[in-house]
Assembly symmetry: C2
Amino acid sequence: MAEMMTAAVEFAQKNRVRFVDELKALLRIPSVSTLPEHVGDVRRAAEFVAAELERIGMENVRLIETSTDERVIADASGHALLVPARHGHPLVYADWLHVEGGPTVLCYGHYDVQPAEPLDEWKSPPFEPTERDGNIYARGAVDDKGQMWMHVKALESLFVAGGGKLPVNVRVIVEGEEEVGGEGIARFVREHGDELKADVALVSDTEMFAPELPTLCVGLRGMIYTEIEVRGARTDLHSGMYGGAAPNPFVALAQVIAKLKDDEGKILIPGFCDKVAKPTADELKAWKALPFDEEHYRETEVGSVTLTGEPGYSVLERTWARPTLDVHGMPGGFIGAGAKTVIPARALAKVSMRLVPDMTPAESFAKYKAYVESIVPKGVELQVRMIHSGDPIVVSTDNAYVKAATEAMHEVFGKETVFVRGGGSIPIVGDFVRELKIPTVMMGFGLPDDNLHAPNEKFHLANFHRGIESIVRFLSGVGA
Amino acid sequence: MAEMMTAAVEFAQKNRVRFVDELKALLRIPSVSTLPEHVGDVRRAAEFVAAELERIGMENVRLIETSTDERVIADASGHALLVPARHGHPLVYADWLHVEGGPTVLCYGHYDVQPAEPLDEWKSPPFEPTERDGNIYARGAVDDKGQMWMHVKALESLFVAGGGKLPVNVRVIVEGEEEVGGEGIARFVREHGDELKADVALVSDTEMFAPELPTLCVGLRGMIYTEIEVRGARTDLHSGMYGGAAPNPFVALAQVIAKLKDDEGKILIPGFCDKVAKPTADELKAWKALPFDEEHYRETEVGSVTLTGEPGYSVLERTWARPTLDVHGMPGGFIGAGAKTVIPARALAKVSMRLVPDMTPAESFAKYKAYVESIVPKGVELQVRMIHSGDPIVVSTDNAYVKAATEAMHEVFGKETVFVRGGGSIPIVGDFVRELKIPTVMMGFGLPDDNLHAPNEKFHLANFHRGIESIVRFLSGVGA
């Protein structure tokens, strides 16, 4: 077994250039799951991944269609028609289950990406992967195509080293809707959990706490992503003629948003924070020991004049263990250059909240919606909609899989692994806990300055290769 | 003189169809002055107007170029280059000055239009003028191409009736920057006032108080149109990883905007309303006598659940004689369909304020800017910019020109003329007062439901023709 692992690591080292070239081909596919015009690209990315899983020796490779939601409309003659309201992107499934009596690892990743806008801030085109200073720049480089590809390449290396065999049973599930809420995989896990039966899940969609510091993520925030729509006048009006009598939807939204958080960042929704579980004393102590300099973080990662957030909590507590609320965009009205004196008939705010244990999306949304509906400004009508949500989770560190992961990374990096939480959401990890009753090892190789969801997203190539080696060692360790 | 007037009115009546066809040709030119891609269209509209003024018999017809602002940038080899920062759109000038010792009327209009967005709310394309129910629908139909064309057609009718002569000296000045602040004409009036020497200006860019009710506008609100730009983090950030530590520019803007007006609509900027002159008791009494039903207005014109605005003032006072503040759009972040969990690095708010006598744009902007800068939320940097401005004005009704206008409209409509104010801004009227020392007769033929600056802008064709006849009679009256 140790020989097979060593041979797999050697194979991976010899094939570095090809592995990166293949990743580049995948990154060239603009699989932006939230934009309807990229439906075909998203499918191409799924087919690309499936073909490679087939080639390296995985079995039962198939695309699993997720349902496309439909809604009823009336056609010209009044008959009901079903039309697509949401495009479902396929799951990619594969397995290799020939180690009788051995454990099964479920490898999860996603092949879809965030939109690349604003395009003019990219130094090289988002879908033309470019190497600079030891990094590969492209939308999806680290989130999550690059990290998902590590899994595939670790499996390939093990297959070659093992003469067509793996040291452990493996199932692979790769989704194409992670950036739009992951409804398809959530439903599949709920309804077909037996087809994903495993002992542990491996997710590489998180980051290292610092360069060279092997990191396991053992907690994630959940989220609710919402839209508030405000309607005032029936049609757009001229602010000269109607200013002083017609309601202004943007002013109304501003009044609502200003009442969601206080000036310090504390959320004002009644009862919203009631269920927040404080991190354990041990956890807080460990976080204090991490190499973290608030001023360095402010300057290099955020770049704002000061940091914001609730007083009395450290930055790590605020981003890992406290609920937060952000506004992402306010569509409506006139946004071109110059001046247009319009009072728009409607305006929207895209508002999301991050949740922490033991909050739930349903209860949090209910409190938020009730509060917003209780502060509707005069003259406007208001609608609150949930776009998607994910549970917050904490993973127990007390099992053999986390230990195997810790050891694997220690071998590769030569350093003790640190345990952290993540501020972002990976809803599937909650689904694995709830539906499959399995823990997840979150072994991620991104860096804090990798520009996730922002222009100039990158992946440090050394970490891509170290990730492959870590996963080879982890899978071998679980199988041992 | 009376004969010439009658002949002119008859000529106008016989040529109704042609007059409307010509207007349609002008409306087909998308002369949107605020959008750089329409620079060529704006010029085509100017040339169209100039050609017609020449054809009907006006003299000294010319385009007057307004300067294009430039800014300095560096070229590839580091040399300074001047590039256009703002395209100046030409003025169209013409005159006919052969009534020795007679008064001179300065006819003003504008050939530029507002952007047509949102396009999907138009029932017929904005630049394909369409007749429905006695109206002509197109962007610019009433604001101001249709009303400016009334002037041209009144002059043509008088020329034909007078055998090549007019009853009064006339200068025509038509601008192409009214919808973007009118900088070019303001500078021309300031620096070349002698070339526009006149006794009275005629402006048809206002509306009738009600259908069939001849109306003269004797007061206008001024305005300041501004942008607030808020910058937080250096680059767009992921709200999962940074939510709770990174400032959110939209939340900051919401906090600022919520402090600009109270929940009732009262402006909270310190000292902003200090110089507001109350309308006279006579004016208030006359406004109360106007046929105005607040509930009908709410339902048919605004369409919101309730009206908004300062308590203690009627709708007419709130829209004619009180300062107001509106937000027109909030560019930045993610505005597409679906979800993107970005904390944008920057966001903007387009905010304008309407001013009333005796406020001034400069003083109002200074107070606004100082106040906004005093309430900058934590963690963000903020810039306040003036985009453009216009003086509020009140015109004295106590002169021969207003009387001539009153009489002309009385003849055409068979009803007493009412005196109102307008809530919108026509900055040029202030410039005429300040620089040329002449009063302006604001004789407009729009209707309250003409959808100025909104989708489905229209002009009632009966009013187009009555406008031409009213102007024929007014010019004849002034010349008598």
